[in-house]
């Protein structure tokens, strides 16, 4: 793995660009399958053909092994174009490699398109061993096209100095008063991970860190396993804010190069995506899917902040039927319903939640600064969002990290409750028995527990029942910040879904797009699918579907 990464070229030479030299170095990564096309490639070389100098070839065992994370990482590290070249579908030595590559390419292309980089920067092609002529044309063509598009707008984050100061473990222990831990074990007794059978104990973790044990190995793994769900913090008699303690520990490990990529599911794709968004020159094109019925105001003072749903949908398109952009569309429709035509920010970036909580404070700060500056430059007074993480991050974490937004951040539910409470609206009957999955950011961190319930009570459903663990003791959806997904978190998810079924409901109402993604993923279990399947809808969509004027 590290060897392969080394073959990915160094970030491009900025100085040559800055001094206006025309000699721009283009970096085009060619992932080349070892079997069919490599023979063609070799034939070209044997015949004395000079492979274009910007093409950096990475020899791979099969195109199907190049995940979306690897494809994307090339762009994150500064590639201007990526070609993945394999065998014809029928000629794949391993059977399904080419098909997998087709899917991965398609998804990655739609994501770089959402980022505004142009999907043409990525191509998949297949060649038989004797098609060296065609391969030659392909390479020349692709180089031509990339040069016509110009350099990639990505400024690799690793090429810039870090934005964080050196903090010591000691300082963090002091900040969260972890030394006052009484060793009571209430945290471990309530931790959903420990309860799922994982050999994991927040109590031990705290005392290990206090004792100054080496953070390598087990401790490092445990720091990255925590869901930062916050149940333990609720129970702790000494008020040790465990999730934030963990977050800051992760930031230290990450800073010292001990962050653990291995604990990032999907090959760290999402962290990579979010780091890429820290490039100031990136101009995302993230709203192009917006349905036509939605009205926005290009000069408004109210901004709707959408969040990363479009990227998630593109990534998970083939696995689950996630359609989390519906939540964004429905949130906008609800604003329109109450005559608010919000402004949308073309270049909206990730709020930074997942980077911060997976330990990358430097890139979190970059995103936070870019977002606040852009929002302020638009003269925005209020930002409304329907995503619990965006809300929590912008309203709380930005100021805590020294970034004063200068605008008000409001969750959509607050807006809705205020408007609906004025009266004259009602809700069409919904023939469902529902239960509600709390989002940890809104529930335990922002203390917004009653508001979604108040809205649910307004709906006209057949039945609303809470799950066995709800409110303050609600169970996590099984993942946070794309960190640490394993068999135990899966067991936790299965337990949660069973709790939902036990309420006799046929519809689980969520308030966070990620709860839907992670829980749906657990429902895809081929052995338990029939038992676990349950319809899921976000509360925002449910309100949008049934609200009407009296």
């Amino acid at each position: 793995m590290t060897k392969r990464q080394q073959t990915i070229p160094e970030p491009r030479n900025r100085e040559s660009v800055e001094f206006g030299l025309i000699m721009e170095n283009y970096n085009i990564i060619l992932f080349l399958c070892n079997w069919g096309p490599h023979a063609a490639y070799q034939q070209l070389q044997d015949n004395g053909y000079q492979i274009p100098p910007e093409v950096k070839m990475v020899r791979i065992p099969c195109t199907g092994r190049i995940s979306k994370a690897l494809l994307f990482k090339a762009f994150e590290m500064g590639a201007d174009g990526v070609a993945i070249v394999g065998c014809n579908s029928g000629a794949c030595r391993y059977g399904s490699g080419t098909l997998t590559a087709e899917n991965n390419t398609e998804d990655t292309r739609s994501i770089i398109d959402l980022l505004g980089m142009g999907k043409e920067r990525m191509r998949l092609a297949t060649f038989l061993p004797d098609e060296s002529g065609a391969l030659k044309t392909f390479l020349a063509d692709f180089c031509e096209e990339i040069k016509a598009m110009g350099k990639s707008p990505v400024l690799p984050s690793a090429s810039r100095p870090p934005e964080t100061s050196g903090e010591s473990v000691r300082q963090i222990l002091a900040r969260y008063d972890a030394n006052s831990c009484q060793d009571c074990g209430k945290c471990t007794a309530s931790c959903p991970l420990a309860l799922s059978g994982k050999a994991y104990s927040p109590r031990n973790l705290v005392s290990d860190i206090i004792r100054g044990n080496d953070t390598a190995g087990k401790i490092n793994a445990d720091i990255h396993a925590c869901l930062t769900c916050g149940i333990c913090y609720e129970r702790c008699p000494s008020n040790v804010n465990f999730p934030e303690f963990i977050r800051d520990m992760r930031c230290i490990l990450n800073r010292d190069g001990e962050g653990s990529d291995r604990t990032q599911p999907h090959g760290g794709f999402f962290q990579s995506l979010m780091r890429t968004m820290t490039s100031p020159a990136i101009l995302p094109d993230r709203w192009k899917w917006l349905p036509e019925d939605i009205q926005t105001d290009p000069d408004g003072k109210i901004l709707f902040f959408g969040g990363c749903a479009p990227y998630f949908d593109a990534f998970f398109k083939k696995h689950q039927q996630v359609n989390t952009v519906d939540i964004i569309a429905d949130a906008l429709r609800l604003l329109n319903f109450f005559d608010v035509r919000p402004r949308l920010m073309e270049a909206e970036r990730c709020c930074g939640h997942d980077l911060l909580w997976s330990g990358d404070r430097t890139n979190f700060l970059r995103l936070a600064k870019l977002n606040t500056e852009m929002i302020r430059d638009l003269g925005i007074e209020t930002v409304i969002t329907a995503c619990p993480e965006c809300y929590h991050t912008m309203s709380l974490e930005y100021p805590k990290n020294g970034i004063q937004p200068g605008f008000t951040v409001m969750h959509l539910y607050t807006f809705l409750e205020h408007e609906i409470d004025k009266g004259a609206v009602t809700f069409k009957p919904l023939p469902h028995r529902i239960t509600y999955q709390d989002s940890c950011r809104m529930n335990r961190m922002e203390e917004i527990r009653d508001l979604p319930r108040k809205l649910i009570q307004r709906l006209s459903v057949e039945q609303f029942r809470e799950m066995k663990d709800s409110g303050l003791s609600a169970l996590c959806c099984g993942n946070c910040a794309w960190t640490g997904c394993d068999a135990y978190t899966k067991a936790l998810q299965v337990k949660r879904i069973r709790q939902a079924h036990d309420t006799g409901s046929d519809l689980m109402v969520t308030s966070c797009p990620k709860c839907q993604i992670h829980l749906r993923c657990a429902m895809e279990d081929p052995f338990q699918e029939a038992e676990l399947k349950m319809e899921m809808t976000d509360l925002t969509s449910l309100i949008a579907r049934t609200i009407c004027w009296e």
Partner: protein, 196 residues
């Protein structure tokens, strides 16, 4: 456009104890003191109020009012079923019918502007304030008085110490009224829900 005298006649009715007369009085005061118009108030006591129905007749006009009784109202506000039954025919064809949604079941022969004023007052913790909520609603959906005038009149008419609570009740009713108007407008445009 020949002789456009701006004169509106109002009947506010309900049962005793709902603060009907106070509502009428505030309406008249708002018009006279805040909007600088002419206004009159007639409260009906006497035989017709015996059935429990209680009534305030208010006239608001640009010119001096010669005769203070109302026969056919431009705005009829009903806060009880019996009051509605009794007065429902004393409204002009183009007039507004305004009711307490939970207390009046109209016969459906004309358009109604309704508000659950009593329920909303209960939610605020004071059932007595239903009249002020209703007043806020009437202010929003009709052109009788300006919002500013109505607020000032509420402020100076309610018992000392309860101003803030009453103004809050007024706001509730007023915002409900604005929502109602918005809803009507949207429905007229064929947009009932959030999803097209």
């Amino acid at each position: 456009m020949a002789r456009k005298i701006n004169k509106q006649e109002v009947i506010v009715t309900g049962f005793g104890g709902q603060g009907i007369v106070l509502a009428g009085k505030i309406l008249g005061m708002a018009a006279a003191l805040g909007d600088h118009k002419e206004s009159t108030l007639v409260q009906s006591y006497g035989p017709e109020s015996r059935g429990g129905a209680c009534c305030a007749q208010v006239i608001i006009s640009d010119r001096v009012i010669q005769y203070p009784y109302v026969n056919m109202a431009d705005v009829l506000v009903c806060m009880s079923q019996s009051a509605y039954e009794k007065y429902k025919d004393q409204i002009k064809p183009e007039g507004y019918l305004i009711t307490d949604k939970d207390l009046v079941k109209p016969d459906g022969r004309r358009e109604v502007f309704d508000i659950p004023a009593t329920r909303m007052a209960e939610e605020l913790g004071r059932k007595m304030m239903a009249n002020i909520i209703m007043l806020g609603f009437v202010t929003a959906v009709s052109t009788l008085v300006s919002e500013k005038a109505a607020r000032e009149a509420v402020n100076s008419s309610v018992p000392k110490g309860t101003e803030e609570m009453n103004l809050k009740a007024f706001t509730k009713g007023f915002e409900y009224g604005l929502s109602k108007l918005k809803g009507k407008e949207k429905k007229a445009a064929g947009k009932t829900g959030a999803i097209a």
